[in-house]
């Protein structure tokens, strides 16, 4: 038993080795090259920036693990943040408004799942269509007057407040991380998610209702996107119609950097968290080093390729070496 667990730890440690190395290298490089990097203020700031993509990416990781994809999360984030803001602007109680936003995100996700499983439309197309629909709905909401001046002090506290010197969004992300970690690793739901992604037919023959697992996964993704949207609207205290655009790509990148397979059957909650922090680190570092906008994009792209490459290399080494 003991030798077994030890071996297991060794193998798992190797699987996340690549991303951790990249994280450390970036960290050390930035500490050396910018005197502003390693300050409490900058690090909190950086963590705080990673939270929004991270929340979305947790959900996307579940979806990818079943072998699906969710392109609608960016728009869902915008729409649900917008709806919560709009409701509060029109006098709804803050908690009710938040609940409504979360519920809407969950329903949209479940709807995605239904379309995919019942109509057998590919996840790519179904969620791509939802990307447009949700964005369009948000534009309708903002057509007459912009959504702003809704943030009560309590609402603003969610994303701008501190507790024990640490920003609230970081606490929220930590809580969500723990819940997702538990869901993914310790419940039958998490087990079924990877089973469906590994071999859908075999999972079905093993008595798993693959359709219900898929619907739940998309619902979870919608719920988490909505929570990120509400948090972002609290942070910005206004909702622009384009809020959350292209978040789906950042979220997928964070998940894949963290070792999630785009073909299903493999995912990691810790990996996602590290992936999201790496993305925030890159953007923060480029800010500090005052890199020109064009180079920023190129460098970001290159670092993503390197990060994924290193992770793939170290984890295949772990298997065949």
């Amino acid at each position: 038993m003991n030798t077994h667990t030890r071996k297991l730890i060794k193998l798992n440690a190797r699987e996340g080795l690549g991303v951790s190395i990249i994280l450390v290298i970036l960290f050390v490089f930035l500490s050396v090259s910018s005197e502003y990097f390693l300050t409490v203020e900058n690090i909190t700031n950086l963590l705080m920036h990673s939270v929004f993509v991270m929340l979305v990416a947790f959900g996307v990781m579940f979806v990818l693990s079943t072998g699906g994809i969710d392109l609608s999360v960016g728009s869902v984030l915008g729409l649900c943040g917008g709806v919560t803001g709009w409701l509060m602007m029109n006098g709804t109680n803050m908690w009710l408004a938040i609940l409504a936003g979360l519920l809407l995100g969950t329903l949209i996700g479940a709807f995605n799942g239904m379309i995919i499983t019942r109509l057998r439309i590919s996840p790519f197309l179904a969620t791509f269509a939802m990307l447009y629909i949700a964005r369009g709905l948000l534009l309708l909401f903002t057509i007459n007057e912009p959504i702003r001046n809704f943030a009560t002090p309590e609402f603003a506290f969610l994303a701008q407040g501190y507790w024990l010197g640490i920003p609230m969004p970081v606490w929220i992300a930590l809580a969500v991380f723990l819940i997702c970690y538990f869901l993914f690793n310790s419940t039958s739901f998490g087990r079924f998610v990877v089973a469906v992604g590994s071999n859908q037919e075999a999972a079905h023959l093993s008595g798993i209702s693959t359709n219900s697992i898929k619907i739940r996964v998309y619902a979870l993704s919608g719920l988490l996107a909505a929570s990120a949207g509400i948090l972002l609207s609290s942070r910005l205290t206004a909702v622009q119609p384009l809020m959350g655009t292209s978040y789906e790509l950042d979220a997928i990148a964070a998940a894949v950097i963290g070792g999630t397979s785009m073909f299903g059957g493999k995912g990691s909650v810790t990996g996602v968290a590290i992936g999201a922090i790496i993305l925030a680190l890159i953007s923060n570092g480029l800010d500090l080093l005052a890199v020109n906008q064009f180079y920023r994009l190129i460098i970001t792209g290159l670092i993503i390729i390197i990060a994924v490459g290193v992770e793939r290399y170290t984890s295949t080494r772990a298997k065949t070496a």
Binding site: K7, S186, T187, S188, F192, A195, S198, A203, S261, T320
Partner: protein
Amino acid sequence: MTVEEDQVLLSLSGITKRFPGVLALENVSLDVRKGEVLALVGENGAGKSTLIKILSGLYSKDSGEIRVRGKAVDINGTKEAQALGISTIFQEPSLAPHLSAVQNVYLGRELVKSVVGKAVRAMNEKEMYLETARLYQKFFPSVEDLHRPVGELDALKNRVIEIVKALSVDCSVVIMDEPTAALAEHEREVLFDFIRLLKAQGVSIIYVSHHLRELFLLADRITVMRDGKNVATVNKEDTNIDHLVSMMVGREISNHIVKEKVPLGKVVLEVSDLNRRGVLKDINFHVKQGEIVGIAGLAGSGRTETVRAVVGADPIHSGKVVVDGRPRRIRSPRDAIQAGIGLLPENRKLHGALIELTVSQNITVASIKRILGQRFVLKKRKETLIAEDYVKRLGIKTPHVNQKVRFLSGGNQQKVILAKWLFTQPKVLIFDEPTQGIDVGAKVEVYNLIAEFVRDGGAVLMVSSELPELMGLSDRIYVMHKGRFVCEFSREEATEENIMMYASGGHE
């Protein structure tokens, strides 16, 4: 025994390969002579497939030397292997499911022809088709399937297409890793004839199989592997099955099926008027407590379709399933498991194994409730203990139960799937080709487990292409032909001849 240097086509010396926690090959040396059939045997996980993958360029060896016609070579990738004249049929199906047979056979080396002068060239569809059809027709008379995506064809046809693919390459060595798994008797004969033909043309064949009997029809020499080492290479004339088995497992075992008589109880599973248009017609049968019932038939006769229909994996147009006297509506495998019926499916790679999951996760996935504590929390410690118990009982070769199933040898994957279904502890267990790819020692183990299951009051329905196995275990045998149950034999009445007669439609 000395051999002329120029008779040796392929020579391996000191090949070693290590995976994390497993020494898969240790200092393996062997020669393959021109125009011989060299059989490779050994228990599950002995290292046969690993050796083959090294020869075909899929894995790189840690140390050792490979010589082709006396020249030391490095083989990186299947293309290089093919250029050296080595062509391989792998144990796990490796066809692209969305491509047709013709496209698969010529994948990556499509034939071309000039259209306008020399400059513009197009694929020579006609020639590729003709050549594929020529080889394919040696197995099946009808070529209408050649343009359909191979994913829509059954396991047997896929196998044949892989064989055709390997043979269509100009090669001096053909390696076959368990090519007859899931092939029926007469289809094997066709393959054997073909192998003899190749041999007569001077092609060497490396042949891996767990069917020791067929080796004596085919092989010139037999190499026995155990725990990653080659134990011995013997001429066919100098050995017999018992000798081979004792070398493989390193101890004496009996490979005879002993079926003990269990008193039969009430009817556990009763299926009546099962119909699926164009596939199954008026199927009626029952299985009693303590009984093992076999279904015999040729490939394509509807055996797999029948058992899939019973567990709700395929849609049916009519039919009634009664379990323990209670009519059950079964529309999905989930319903079947809840009703107490488990199906071990035929195709390991497509339907059985969750290769990205670990051994223990695979074993518990169909009965997750039994390791679920309060509030949906998995009891991982309990799961590990259960898995370790099955690993021990079935002799599954794996460094630990948290190994991903992807890294297990084919036969060991099959054992994991068996463990999964045994752990569901159903009332009725349906096995579709339960021992495919399993070594002789483990087969006896599996038979014992099946016997133990019925002794404890379970009922078993079994499909198998291996008549000796089917006849040795079953209390009763149904014979299928063209989607119908055409006949029923008791254990005493069943003979190979009368089963084959009904199975091939000779009674009509």
